[in-house]
């Protein structure tokens, strides 16, 4: 394939400029593309060459920062990981669904960050085997088998695509949602962690794991193949066990 072959393509971007108008509108841009043009390249081209008023988020260009999520023809995608060569005909770019839009393609992800903070996505160890000694700090040991239990779920980059894919989050924004529940499960599975009990109080709520109906679209759109739907539903098994144990312990 000749990657130097340059052609032009038209993309439509949903614009929202609250200073000018309360209504959003579609704007078409025509730009040169070749086989290596990513959607992020295209947005940068628009910003630099065609229309400096366009707003969008981006940073790393390599699917690790998770900033450049947008809807492409109604499906949540990372701009840097989406290539225009894969699209015949119309390309419609919109801000991520289920989040309030601030301006053009920039959304307010505050609620996702709140849900994330609620599940305490960090190692919790209130009763370490040995007290911490700054003179002789000891590292936690973890075997490859123990790592393998949670490794897949640790690949999340917090891009929020799964929230835009999740109708249950769209129907009820109080639902903790795919990424937060996955991160909770990831730390619950970590052999170095002792915070499961604290996280279970969040997970075992109606707005925790129990709002999920395994639609599964979150796992389809995840750019890092984390499979949040699997993590959330494994969380249901854990929440059920937790409830049973609480029942017998009284």
């Amino acid at each position: 394939m000749n990657t130097q072959q340059i052609s032009t393509k038209q993309i439509s971007v949903k614009r929202y400029l609250p200073d000018n108008s309360a209504e959003s509108y579609w704007q078409q841009y025509e730009l040169p593309v070749d086989d290596s043009t990513s959607l992020l390249d295209a947005l940068n081209h628009i910003k630099e060459q065609l229309d400096s008023t366009l707003s969008y988020r981006w940073s790393c260009r390599m699917a690790i920062c998770g900033s450049c999520g947008v809807m492409v023809n109604g499906i949540p995608k990372l701009g840097c990981k989406t290539f225009l060569r894969d699209y015949e005909g119309e390309i419609r770019i919109e801000p991520l669904s289920h989040f309030p839009v601030q301006r053009d393609l920039v959304v307010d992800m505050e609620i996702f960050l709140e849900h994330l903070a609620a599940v305490k996505p960090y190692l919790i160890d209130d009763n370490p085997v040995k007290p911490y000694d700054p003179q002789a700090p000891e590292t936690y040991k973890q075997s490859p088998e123990q790592l393998a239990r949670y490794k897949q779920f640790a690949n999340c980059i917090n891009c929020g695509l799964c929230y835009s894919a999740c109708p249950q989050f769209g129907l009820n924004p109080e639902f903790l949602g795919p990424a937060a529940l996955t991160l909770a499960h990831r730390y619950n599975l970590d052999s170095r962690d002792n915070g499961k009990k604290e996280r279970m109080a969040e997970l075992n709520r109606h707005e925790g794991v129990w709002s999920c109906t395994f639609v599964g679209f979150c796992s389809k759109v995840c750019p890092k193949h984390v499979d949040p739907a699997a993590a959330v539903n494994q969380g249901k098994v854990e929440a059920a066990k937790h409830t049973l144990i609480a029942l017998f312990k009284g």
Binding site: P167, E174, A201, H206, E207, W210, K236
Partner: protein, 136 residues
């Protein structure tokens, strides 16, 4: 900074936000068990009882009144009803409840009582019929 909250949760909801869902594990457990039964048992049950039997494609004695009675009104018949009627009913109740939420029909706390209550009621009737036939 002033933010426009289009759908702020009410203060009352905030206080119940950490309420533990002690019942959900039960409904989900019954849903899962019923889902397995629906998938593993129901294809054969529907094929033989609701398709081959009424079409006269089974041998005449296969489900004659006497044979059907002796098969159903027994301990294995009781277990059969549990796996083929009761658990799938709870599976259906769970999916209907969530389906109604998905398409914004009714109120979840009422739907929940109606659906699971209906499944429980029909389950008791079904198991009661087996016991009645067993004793009668």
């Amino acid at each position: 900074m002033e933010k426009l909250a289009m759908n702020k949760p009410s203060m009352g909801k905030n206080s119940t936000q950490h309420k533990q869902a002690f019942d959900e594990p039960l409904w989900w457990g019954l849903f899962s068990a019923g889902g397995v039964c629906f998938a593993v048992f129901l294809p054969a049950v529907i094929l033989f009882i609701a398709v081959l039997l009424p079409l006269g494609l089974l041998p005449a004695e296969a489900l004659s009144y006497e044979r059907a009675s002796s098969l159903l009104f027994s301990v294995p018949g009781f277990l059969f009803v549990g796996a083929v009627v009761c658990l799938p009913l709870f599976h259906a109740a769970h999916r209907l409840r969530h389906g109604m939420f998905d398409i914004s029909v009714g109120n979840d706390s009422i739907n929940k009582k109606l659906m699971y209550g209906g499944a429980a009621l029909l389950s008791i009737v079904a198991l009661g019929l087996v016991v009645a036939g067993f004793l009668g």
